[in-house]
C-alpha cells in the first residue's frame, strides 16, 4: 500500500449535485459505503458480544431467566475450578493439532503431486475437492452412519477384508473421538490442498530452472525454493484452519451425537454448546465462551508474531 489512497481528495472542478457522491468528501463517501455493514455488525456482533460479557458475570439460567442478577467472577471461578475444563481443553488441543497436522501434510503432498504434469490431473483435482464442497452437516451424519457398529460400511470393511473384530466406534470414548477426527480430516484437507496448489502455481518456473542449472536435487529444490515460497501462503491459511478447527462444533456434535458416550468426546466449543442449549446454564456458558475466546486471541497473537505473518495480514 505504498501509494496514497487519498488521491481522491484532490479538488476537481465539477458541478456538485444534490445527493451525488461528488458533493461528499471522500471520507463521508467511505462512511456511507460502510454504514450498512457496520449496522449489521453492530447489531449482531458488537452488541451481543457485550451482552455476552454481562451474561458471563450473571447467574442467568433457565431458572433465573427473568430475575437474573450480577454475581461477579463466580462463573469464571466455576469454570476454572472444575476438572472438566482441563480435560476438555486437553482434548481440544489434541483435536486441533491432529487435524491440522493431517490437513496440511495431506493437502500439501497432494498439491505437490497435482502440480506435476499428470494425465487426468484436472479431473482428479475436482474429485479431491469434493469433501470441501459437501455441506459439513451431511459429511458428519454420513460418517456417523458409516461408523455404525452393525451396519456401517467401515466395520463391514474391517470384518470382510481385514478379518478383524468390528470396532465399537460410537460406543467408546477413544474410538468415538477418533471417529470424529477421521471425519474432520476427510473434510478438511481439500482446503489446504487448494491453497497450497494456488501457492505452488505462483512460484516462478525460472527459479526451478536456475536450481536445475546449479545441479540441485529434487530434495534441495523443495527445501530451498518450494518451501520458503509456499510458507507465506500457508501461514495465514494454517492460522485460519487452526481457529476454524478449534471452533468446529458441527463435526463433534453430529458425529458423536452431542458428546456421546457420556460426554466423553467434547471439545471446548461442543461442551459450551451443551451447557448453553441442553443444560440452560447461560451464565456459565457465557463465561466459558469468554475463556475460549481469550485462548484463541492469545494463540493468534503469539502465532502470528512468531511467524511474522502479521505484516502480510495488512
Amino acid at each position: 500500500m505504498a501509494f496514497n489512497r487519498n488521491k481522491m481528495t484532490q479538488p476537481q472542478e465539477r458541478k456538485t449535485r444534490f445527493f451525488d457522491s461528488e458533493s461528499l468528501s471522500p471520507n463521508t463517501f467511505a462512511y456511507i459505503l460502510m454504514i450498512p455493514a457496520a449496522i449489521v455488525m453492530f447489531g449482531v456482533v458488537v452488541y451481543p458480544f457485550f451482552y455476552n460479557v454481562v451474561l458471563s458475570f450473571s447467574n442467568m439460567s433457565l431458572r433465573h431467566f427473568r430475575d437474573w442478577h450480577l454475581i461477579g467472577f463466580r462463573q469464571y471461578i466455576e469454570v476454572f475450578r472444575g476438572q472438566v475444563f482441563y480435560t476438555v481443553f486437553l482434548k481440544t488441543l489434541v483435536w486441533t493439532f491432529v487435524n491440522i497436522f493431517f490437513h496440511v501434510t495431506i493437502g500439501v503432498s497432494l498439491a505437490l503431486v497435482l502440480n506435476r504434469k499428470l494425465f487426468g490431473k484436472a479431473a482428479l483435482r475436482t474429485l479431491l475437492i469434493l469433501p470441501w464442497a459437501i455441506p459439513q452437516v451431511i459429511v458428519a451424519l454420513t460418517w456417523r452412519s458409516m461408523f455404525n457398529y452393525e451396519y456401517g460400511a467401515i466395520n463391514l470393511f474391517i470384518a470382510r477384508y481385514l478379518q478383524m473384530a468390528p470396532v465399537e466406534w460410537l460406543g467408546k470414548p477413544l474410538e468415538a473421538f477418533s471417529a470424529c477426527i477421521i471425519t474432520n480430516i476427510w473434510l478438511g484437507f481439500p482446503f489446504m490442498m487448494t491453497i497450497a496448489l494456488g501457492g505452488l502455481q505462483s512460484i516462478p518456473q525460472e527459479l526451478y530452472e536456475a536450481a536445475d542449472i546449479d545441479g540441485a536435487s529434487a530434495w534441495q529444490k523443495f527445501w530451498s525454493v518450494t518451501y520458503p515460497l509456499l510458507k507465506p501462503v500457508m501461514i495465514p491459511a494454517i492460522t485460519l484452519g487452526i481457529i476454524w478447527t478449534f471452533n468446529n462444533v458441527n463435526i463433534i456434535w453430529l458425529v458423536s451425537n452431542g458428546g456421546e458416550p457420556s460426554d466423553q468426546t467434547h471439545i471446548l466449543v461442543s461442551y459450551v454448546y451443551k451447557a448453553a442449549f441442553n443444560l440452560y446454564r447461560y451464565g456459565y456458558a457465557a463465561a466459558l465462551s469468554m475463556v475460549i475466546f481469550a485462548i484463541l486471541l492469545i494463540f493468534s497473537l503469539v502465532f502470528l508474531k512468531r511467524t511474522k505473518a502479521s505484516e502480510a495480514a495488512y
Partner: protein, 284 residues
C-alpha cells in the same frame, strides 16, 4: 539417449506411477462415502439394514426419492433453505462489496481497528454470539422466525467476505478509477461501473461463501427454528438420521439432493476460488 538419461527417465516413470497410486487411493477414499450414501438411497425399504457392501443393492429402487418428495415435508424444507440462503447471499454480497471497497480505497478514522476487529470476530467461539442472540430473540419473540436466522448467518459470513473483497480491490489499480473520474464519472459510478465488474471473481467467492454458510447450517438453526414447518434441510435430515432403521433411505436420498446444488456451485466456481483465495491470502 545416454545411459544416465535412460535411468533418470525410468526413475521418473516409477515415481509418476507411485504418485498415481497415491492420488487414486486418496480419490477413492474421497469418493467412497458418497458412493455409500448413494447405494443406501437405492435400498428397498425392507433391506435398509443390510450388511452387503455392494454398490447397487439387490432390488435397487428409487422408492426413497419418491417417498421423500411425496410423503415428507422435504420440499417445504428445501424451499425454506432456499429462501434463507438466497437472502443471505444477496445481503452478504451487497454489504461486503461496499464495505470492502471503503476499506481498500479510503483512509478514514478507525479503519485499522475496524479491520482488526473483523479479524478478531473470527476467533469468537460459535456460542459467544449465538447464546446472547438466542436470549435476545427469545425476549423479542423472534424464535421461529426467519429474520433472526438470516441476520445471524449474514453476520457470520460477513467478516471473511469483507476481508476477501478488500484484498481483491487492493489488486485493482487505482489509476482505472482516476481516469474514469477524469472522464466525468462520479465516485459511485467509478465504483459500480469500473471496479465492481473487475472484482467479479471476488464477488463470486463472497456469494459462494455466504450461500454455503446458510444453505446447510445446523448448529444455529437447531436452536432458533423449532417448528417443523419452518425447518431447514439440515434439521429435517437430522430427524431422518435419528431414526436410522426406518428412515435411513430417506436420509441418504435427501442428503444427496441437498449436496447437489452446493457441490455443483462449488465445482463450477472452483477456478475462481483458487485464484481468489490465494490472492486474498497473499495480499491480505
Amino acid at each position: 539417449m545416454s545411459h544416465k538419461a535412460k535411468t533418470q527417465n525410468l526413475k521418473l516413470r516409477i515415481l509418476n506411477l507411485v504418485l498415481y497410486f497415491l492420488l487414486i487411493g486418496f480419490t477413492l477414499a474421497v469418493l467412497y462415502p458418497i458412493v455409500n450414501v448413494f447405494s443406501i438411497s437405492l435400498r428397498p425399504g425392507n433391506r435398509l439394514l443390510s450388511t452387503s457392501l455392494r454398490i447397487i443393492p439387490d432390488g435397487a429402487t428409487f422408492h426413497a426419492y419418491k417417498e421423500l418428495f411425496t410423503q415428507t415435508q422435504f420440499l417445504l424444507w428445501f424451499w425454506n433453505s432456499s429462501i434463507i440462503a438466497a437472502t443471505v447471499t444477496v445481503t452478504g454480497v451487497a454489504l461486503a462489496s461496499t464495505a470492502g471497497y471503503a476499506f481498500s480505497r479510503f483512509n478514514f478514522y478507525g479503519k485499522k481497528s475496524a479491520m482488526v476487529g473483523l479479524l478478531v470476530t473470527q476467533m469468537f467461539p460459535p456460542t459467544m454470539l449465538l447464546l446472547p442472540m438466542y436470549i435476545m430473540l427469545l425476549k423479542l419473540h423472534l424464535i421461529n422466525s426467519y429474520l433472526g436466522i438470516i441476520v445471524i448467518y449474514t453476520s457470520t459470513a460477513l467478516p471473511f467476505c469483507v476481508w476477501q473483497m478488500k484484498g481483491y480491490y487492493d489488486t485493482i489499480p487505482f489509476s482505472l478509477e482516476e481516469s474514469a473520474r477524469i472522464d466525468g464519472s462520479t465516485r459511485w459510478g467509478a465504483f459500480t461501473k469500473i471496479v465492481l465488474p473487475l472484482a467479479a471473481p471476488a464477488l463470486v467467492i463472497t456469494a459462494l461463501f455466504s450461500f454455503m454458510t446458510a444453505w446447510a447450517e445446523y448448529v444455529v438453526a437447531a436452536q432458533v427454528l423449532q417448528d417443523t414447518s419452518l425447518f431447514t434441510l439440515p434439521l429435517g435430515l437430522k430427524q431422518f438420521e435419528a431414526s436410522m432403521s426406518t428412515q435411513w433411505g430417506l436420509y441418504a436420498a435427501g442428503s444427496l439432493i441437498i449436496s447437489i446444488p452446493a457441490v455443483a456451485l462449488f465445482l463450477f466456481l472452483s477456478r475462481w476460488l483458487i485464484s481468489g483465495l490465494t490472492l486474498g491470502s497473499v495480499k491480505g
